[in-house]
Amino acid sequence: MPAEPRTIAALARAIRAGDLSAEAATSECLARIADRNPSINAYITVLGEQALLDAKRADADLANGVDRGPLHGVPISLKDLIDVRGVPTTAASRVRDGHAARRDAVVAARLRRAGAVFLGKTNLHEFAFGTTNEDSAFGPARHPLDPNRSPGGSSGGSAASVLDGMAYASIGTDTGGSIRIPAAACGLVGLKPTVGELPLDGIVPLSTTMDHVGPIARSVEDAALLFDVMRDVPPASLPPRELRGARFGVPRGYFMAMLDPQVASAFDAVCARLAAAGAAVEDVEIRHAADIAPIYLHIVLAEAAAYHAKMLESRADDYTPNVRIRLEMGRYILAEDYARALRGRGVLAAEVDAALRGRDALLLPSLAIPAPKIGLATVKLGGVDEPVRNAMLRLTQPFNITGHPALTIPCGATLEGLPLGAQLVGASNRTHDLLRVGAAAEPYFGPGTSR
């Protein structure tokens, strides 16, 4: 791990001050990848030579007075679900053998135009259909702090690359939590914007109703910068706002019923620090929370099955077995139950809107458990043996259903040193406001792996 993990904002200042070139920053990342990727398996494809060429060009452009903004020359990674021209998009699956992207995904093109240097494509749970990154045609990604543990998923390689200094940030996708879960497990910031806010063209889908793309970064400021670039607006520093007087709603009941004790304790500490800083932290109710998992399941399974049907008929054996069997399950969902789930989606969205009324954000843990050991099937929570997948999705999937923007921020670690995260959820189409309150609250969340 680098002694001083640097944010994008700090790198941008260093590059412009002449303290570090884009080429040097990129070379450092590539050296780190060469050293660590064999054991962490964060990357599927490393774009070493091209990355160095792009970095040198970035330095030359800056020397000639061409400055593309704060991402100019910054080395980042992208989840291998996102097309980068001329490079395979494997989706961590043999089903995609032989694929090469003809053009950048829209968000990739915007990042490239803003001067970002693409280091490579990161490992993921096959087709994004899982929470641990264990099921991948290229082997599991491993947690940089404990290689016997998962970095979370499905954007596990993305999070691992940033945590371990193999990239300054990464772009992931989030259908049930796949940005926020690995970001929380790795002590990083992860943003799922409002549904539909960022274009998904050129990104392999899992569930078209609930898919999102977003950044995994070392700070809320960095996440905001990447979000601005991806939505094609000039990136600007977040206008500061006061935390004093901010109002946070904490949903209890379902949301707090099944938490690892250390997660619960860390979350309580976040609430106490925010309150001590002058924010109002009050309980709120979100009705129908018990219906979250059934609604999610009937939407994601049906939509994933529709996308994969042809390959399941002709190339079933090219899927990893666990992902294949769950995709097959989706083919049995009836249209009437899919329709019910879509109605339930509207009901839940209304409940979250109501809980947010008059408040800046909802506040809850991001991940019910710390990063689990690879191969673990169940975990005991609240006296019940819960499948690991269900435990990991529990607190993130509601906001994929409803589409509200959600931001995970690191909030300390377990006694064993495993990072923890807490989540802020904002009003729909007010992602920028969520980022502003997140930046104000970030220092009070507790230490992250970059702070």
Partner: protein, 68 residues
């Protein structure tokens, strides 16, 4: 189709296709489907099952799935 009929049919089909490991997953899915069908926000053609404290304006139009 009742859930029982659905489950029996699905299990038969899965076993015919050599996907026996699907059985416990389909049983789990059946429980989720049952929960979905009995949720108190489901609409009903008779109009008798409307929640007294939930009217049409409380059900938000599903947000756009993507910005293509």
């Amino acid at each position: 189709m009742t859930i029982k009929t659905w489950l029996d049919t699905a299990i038969q089909d899965a076993e015919r296709r050599g996907l026996a490991p699907l059985r416990p997953m389909l049983e789990t899915l059946a429980r989720a489907t049952s929960a979905l069908r009995t949720a108190d926000w489901n609409a009903d053609a008779s109009g008798a099952a409307e929640l007294s404290d939930l009217d049409a304006t409380d059900i938000v139009d599903a947000p756009a799935a993507d910005a293509r």
